[in-house]
């Protein structure tokens, strides 16, 4: 873990609580992410997911603890860590294309203009944006199109680590599906590492290699790391047929519905809080599967 591509060590975040005291969002959170991994983090609203992501991005400083990427301390934002913000964060006075070239120019300052434009249009095309749509301003694009521009901007910069904060939160199920496919497509073409926040259990199972589960705040912990034992390429219609799918899904639903509250606030004092690794694989009988909880039909 200590020599993982990205390692988060004893991260603690406290904020003043408004009455002169302070409250702890999370304490001593520690986990690692391997190179090329796609990791999703699930947890209830307010448990500190965005806070963790802002720290990983270098946009915020933790109260204590360190983040290392490739063995280097993360301090301040960097082009090596691309961010797709929850609300797209496109610059509204620039066209879709210019929003992407804005990033590409910053990343590759010695490229000439033609090359920057070519590279940017390639990535816009990868997320399905072509034609005159790329010459429109964000206000003239639909929510899904804006989100795609935002993803194209992040991917075009070819960062080592991509951080996505609920990137599909505001989209309808259909658009969500298409962009998820596009995201997976772009990700599998590269060796990028992705860390993504989501509220959607099915989305997490579809996309992730591993899902981190957070207990409720305050004093939240990254309690479990659930491996998604479903082979790729995955596809949203076939994936539900896989024997592991419901076993994993039930485990996640059970965690979020019940255990996240039970476990919450169990401050384990000091020391590293490594998440417990959970591997659910009913196809592999040697590994004793987690007893599948009888909680279903709860929409994430």
């Amino acid at each position: 873990m200590a020599n993982a591509f990205l390692s988060i060590e004893q991260l603690t975040q406290r904020y003043p609580d408004g009455n002169g005291g302070e409250f702890t969002v999370f304490e001593n959170a520690s986990f690692g992410i391997e190179k090329g991994e796609f990791v999703c983090i699930l947890g209830h609203s307010g448990c500190g997911k965005s806070t963790i992501m802002n720290i990983l991005a270098g946009l915020a400083e933790p109260t204590s603890g360190v983040v290392k990427m490739d063995g280097q301390h993360v301090s301040g934002p960097s082009l090596d860590r691309g961010v797709v913000f929850q609300n797209y964060s496109l610059l509204p006075w620039l066209t879709a294309l210019k929003n992407v070239t804005f990033g590409v120019q910053a990343r590759f300052p010695d490229w000439d203009k033609a090359k920057v434009i070519e590279h940017s249009t390639t990535f816009l095309a990868k997320v399905g944006l072509t034609g005159d749509a790329i010459h429109r301003k964000p206000s003239q694009l639909s929510g899904g199109m804006r989100q795609r521009v935002s993803i194209a901007r992040a991917f075009a910069n070819e960062p080592k680590l991509l951080l996505l904060d609920e990137p599909f939160g505001a989209l309808d199920a259909l658009t969500r599906g298409t962009i998820q496919d596009e995201l997976i497509k772009v990700w599998s073409d590269t060796d990028q590492t992705v860390f993504m926040i989501t509220h959607d259990i099915d989305e997490a199972i579809l996309l992730a290699d591993r899902i981190l589960l957070m207990t409720n705040g305050p004093n939240a912990q990254v309690a479990e790391s659930v491996e998604i034992t479903i082979p790729r390429p995955r596809n949203r219609t076939d994936i539900v047929e896989h024997p592991n799918y419901y076993a994993i899904r039930n485990h996640l639903v059970h965690f979020l519905g019940q255990r996240s509250a039970e476990l919450s606030g169990q401050s384990g004092g000091s020391g590293m809080h490594q998440p417990k690794t959970v591997r659910i694989d009913v196809t592999d009988e040697a590994d004793d599967p987690e007893p599948a909880p009888v909680l279903r039909a709860v929409e994430g």
């Binding site: 991005a57 270098g58 946009l59 301040g76 934002p77 960097s78 082009l79 860590r81 691309g82 961010v83 913000f85 609300n87 964060s89 610059l91 509204p92 006075w93 804005f102 990033g103 910053a106 990343r107 301003k137 964000p138 206000s139 910069n157």
Partner: protein, 278 residues
């Protein structure tokens, strides 16, 4: 037939109608002045027949306008210059003072908007200086600068600086943190961030401040030139009033309005080019 016209055309038609009716009422309500030959001996003796300082009818103003605008740049000595020259002087003063103000207000506003310490430190000064009537500075300016031309420019400077300063600070402080974070995650330097993110984001607010400033500057220059004298449209109005030439006074009042409108619409255009919808 009228029903088929577009809304704009209807409005334009109505405007022309209002103008014509207004001029007609104005023309009709002014009693015709007697020609000098028709005056009685008595009237002549009591001075009742002096070219009366009555309000001239629109036809006369129109004639004056024609006469002045057909040769706007003549120069026949210090008290007799064409309207074009007078307006030119005023515009020159307004623009000089205004640009000086912009050069200081916009960068300073940026600083104030970016740093809450700078904002808090400078705010009391701004709050005290801002409500001062620009003309109240005039005596001090004349005394310190000792030059009427420069004093007029200074007065323009001091009155146009506040809306630009306040709007720039306000616009810069209000730039969405997300956009600044976009700049940060792209490792843009401070200067690059200022020019490629903060400036375009705050531009609509800044230009609104610039538009307010140019309006105030144009209001103030007339008053300032009345005090300072010499040249300029304000001086021209005052001079014609002293000559009891009300036709010229009314004509120049209209010109002040027209130039003010043109200045304002220039900034309206600029406002439209920097506007964006989120």
């Amino acid at each position: 037939m009228i029903g088929t016209l577009s809304e704009n055309k209807k409005a334009a038609l109505l405007s022309v109608l209002i103008l014509l009716v207004g001029c007609f009422i104005w023309e009709m309500s002014i009693p015709a002045q007697k020609a000098v030959e028709e005056l009685t001996e008595y009237e002549r003796l009591t001075g009742g027949g002096q070219p009366k300082a009555g309000v001239p009818p629109p036809s006369q103003v129109l004639g004056k306008a024609w006469e002045q605008l057909s040769d706007p740049f003549y120069d026949a000595g210090p008290n007799d210059k064409g309207i074009g020259i007078q307006i030119g002087y005023s515009i020159y003063r307004v623009l000089t003072g205004y640009l000086l103000a912009a050069v200081i207000a916009i960068p300073l506003g940026f600083l104030i908007g970016m740093s809450s310490v700078a904002y808090k430190a400078l705010n009391p000064f701004i709050q005290v200086l801002r409500p001062i009537s620009p003309l109240a500075w005039m005596p001090l300016a004349l005394f310190v600068i000792q030059d009427s031309e420069m004093s007029a420019i200074f007065v323009i400077f001091i009155c146009s600086i506040w809306p630009m300063l306040i709007n720039t600070a306000f616009g810069v402080a209000g730039v969405r943190e997300d956009w600044v974070n976009v700049a940060r995650t792209h490792e843009l330097g401070a200067l690059k961030t200022a020019f490629t993110v903060i400036l375009p984001a705050a531009a609509p607010t800044i230009v609104t401040g610039m538009r307010i400033s140019i309006g105030i500057a144009w209001l103030v220059i007339v008053a300032a030139e009345m005090l300072v004298g010499g040249t300029g449209i304000g001086y021209y109005v005052w001079n014609e009033w002293n000559n009891l030439d009300l036709t010229s006074v009314i004509f120049s009042i209209l010109m002040i309005g027209v130039v003010g409108m043109l200045l304002d619409s220039m900034f309206g255009l600029l406002q439209r080019t920097v506007a964006y919808t989120e």
